[in-house]
């Protein structure tokens, strides 16, 4: 017998969970937004200006202009990933925030969906700030770029699903590191952020096709650079199918973990 039948979910209660995260964020955004965005900005500067001095042109673009949209994409990935791995782990095990929520008219489903909404929000905020910086540096080429932050919603949702799934399987916080070293860092390096994967051997391209970040990059780069093609739809569809299939997974896993 299970009192929390499948899909005991209320959008309003999930929104309440999201609101709690917003309340917390209001206290910390000043310090976190700078430190979190330092990372992609350092890559942009170091590789864009540094390596860019040696790399002639990449797909007919100055190197820094090529990697800028890629780094907007990766900021979406890291924002949702940090939120749903380290932060979620702390909320489950150390601060026991979810336990407190579940004593109220909030179910585990509301918690998980609310957290996904928040991770998505954070991804969207970061993509927006990154886009502003990239635009200020004169690296944006098209008005379509304003759609790039909206990809924070779909991309953030995708990486929140992955992060929550992993976190629900964790026993200790040290295991979070594996996720970054074995999954996030390879995605960052092999998903077309720093070089196009189209001309690489078939096998590498096949691996790239499995990478969630690759599809995000392949949507955001054309938007920022104004090079729209129908191919974008394939990448959009890939992400949409991914979230539709996998969203229920962390909901079920976390229910097993939180309801005993």
């Amino acid at each position: 017998m299970n009192p929390l039948k499948p899909f005991s979910f209320s959008p309003r209660q999930a929104f309440r969970v999201w609101q709690r995260e917003v309340s917390v964020y209001k206290h910390v955004y000043k310090s976190t937004i700078v430190s979190n965005l330092m990372d992609p900005l350092i890559y942009l500067m170091a590789l864009g200006f540094g390596l860019g001095a040696y790399v002639n042109r990449m797909q007919g673009l100055p190197y820094i202009q090529f990697i800028a949209p890629g780094l907007i994409s990766s900021s979406i990935m890291t924002a949702a990933t940090y939120e749903t791995t380290i932060n979620t782990f702390v909320r489950i095990h150390f601060d026991r925030v979810y336990e407190a929520m579940m004593a109220t008219p909030v179910t585990v489903e509301d918690v998980v969906v609310g957290e996904m909404m928040w991770a998505t929000t954070r991804s969207t905020i970061y993509a927006t700030v990154m886009l502003c910086v990239v635009t200020a540096l004169g690296l944006t080429r098209s008005w379509y770029a304003i759609f790039a932050p909206f990809m924070g919603i779909l991309g953030g949702w995708m990486f929140a699903t992955l992060g929550l799934t992993y976190t629900s399987l964790l026993k200790s916080i040290d295991q979070v590191n594996f996720y970054f070293t074995l999954f996030i860092t390879p995605l960052f390096l092999f998903s077309g952020v720093f070089y196009p994967v189209d001309n690489l051997p078939q096998i590498v391209r096949m691996i790239a096709f499995l990478s969630p970040l690759y599809h995000l990059v392949e949507i955001i780069r054309p938007l920022v650079l104004g090079r729209l093609e129908y191919g974008i739809l394939i990448h959009l569809a890939w992400i949409a199918v991914f979230v539709l299939i996998f969203t229920a997974l962390p909901v079920n896993l976390l229910r097993k973990k939180l309801v005993k």
Partner: protein
């Protein structure tokens, strides 16, 4: 028992975790405006029972109704009217004190203006107004507990469940918490409390269920429990084994019952002084004797044993 107006009604309630049976078929009723206590050693199943009442842990079998609603499928409705004070503080460390209350109120869909007023009122009531902008980590243990209780009151609950509300507090803080809980009771809020402190149970509870190894071994008012199992007074004597038997074989109505632990003989009586006189006639070995009033602790130890369960 009149089941109709019960706030909580459990029948044959069980909970297993794998092969471990934490709660083994318990029945109890909690009536409106009373303070009902679960008293028992660690591992007796008190917290598990509380979690089932709080609709956060599904029961394995049996029935459990809160406000007449089934906990198995009305969790949200029940939780809307509950105030839960957990055993370990799970305050929101990422938010300052006052927001711990206002953000929590949102989960009950309380309008923010109402939540603002109520949080001010509760911080005042719990003597935390000065700390309203402080971080949770700056609070002492007693303040945290008071904040937890305030938080549980944000939705004006009809039933509060408090799991060991004063464990780990110093005597001053305990008395302040008791005082506040007593005020709540006067306002008509039904309370369920778990504790392993006898004085707490005596102070707070109108009725008690003594739990041991997942079962309720007794269920009555504190006074009746003491009267029924112990009597008015207790006489403690340390004696060699052989003389213990001599004392116990005394044919007197003064001994209502007894317990024995190592060289200690504990005799339950309605007149311990008189009993001591009688005993002094049979043995000279009465250097260590204590005559004292009986209490809940005597009942507790008699019913749950003197050995550690851990």
């Amino acid at each position: 028992m009149a089941a109709d107006n019960s706030i909580v009604q459990a029948r044959g309630l069980r909970k297993s975790f794998g092969i471990m049976e934490a709660v083994r078929g318990i029945d109890f009723d909690v009536k409106p405006s009373e303070c009902f206590g679960f008293l028992g050693p660690n591992g007796a199943g008190k917290t598990t029972t509380m979690r089932m009442i709080g609709c956060v842990s599904p029961s394995t079998s049996g029935s459990l109704k809160v406000f007449g609603l089934d906990t198995q499928n009305s969790g949200r409705k029940i939780k809307q009217r509950l105030g839960v004070v957990p055993q370990e503080a799970n305050l929101d460390e990422e938010l300052p004190v006052e927001e711990n209350l206002t953000v929590y109120a949102r989960f009950f869909n309380i309008p923010s203006s109402v939540a603002q007023d109520r949080s001010k009122e509760l911080l005042e009531f719990m003597e935390l107004t000065e700390k309203r902008r402080a971080r949770v980590s700056e609070l002492s243990g007693g303040m945290r507990r008071r904040l937890l209780i305030s938080r549980a009151m944000m939705n004006n609950p009809d039933l509060m469940i408090l799991d060991e509300p004063t464990t780990g507090l110093d005597p001053q803080a305990r008395h302040l918490v008791w005082d506040k809980l007593f005020e709540l009771k006067k306002r008509g809020v039904t309370q369920i409390v778990t504790t392993h402190y006898m004085d707490e149970a005596e102070q707070l509870c109108d009725r008690l269920a003594i739990m041991d190894q997942g079962q309720i071994v007794e269920n009555d008012t504190p006074q009746s429990l003491v009267q029924k199992h112990i009597g008015r007074e207790v006489l403690e004597i340390r004696l060699p084994e052989k003389e213990k038997y001599q004392v116990l074989s005394l044919n007197t109505e003064l001994i209502k019952g007894h317990d024995s632990y190592r060289d200690l003989l504990i005799l339950y009586s309605d007149d311990a002084d008189k009993l001591l006189e009688v005993i002094k006639n049979t043995t000279t070995n009465t250097d260590y004797t204590i005559v004292r009033r009986s209490g809940l602790e005597d009942v507790f130890l008699k019913l749950t044993g003197r050995r550690l369960n851990e």
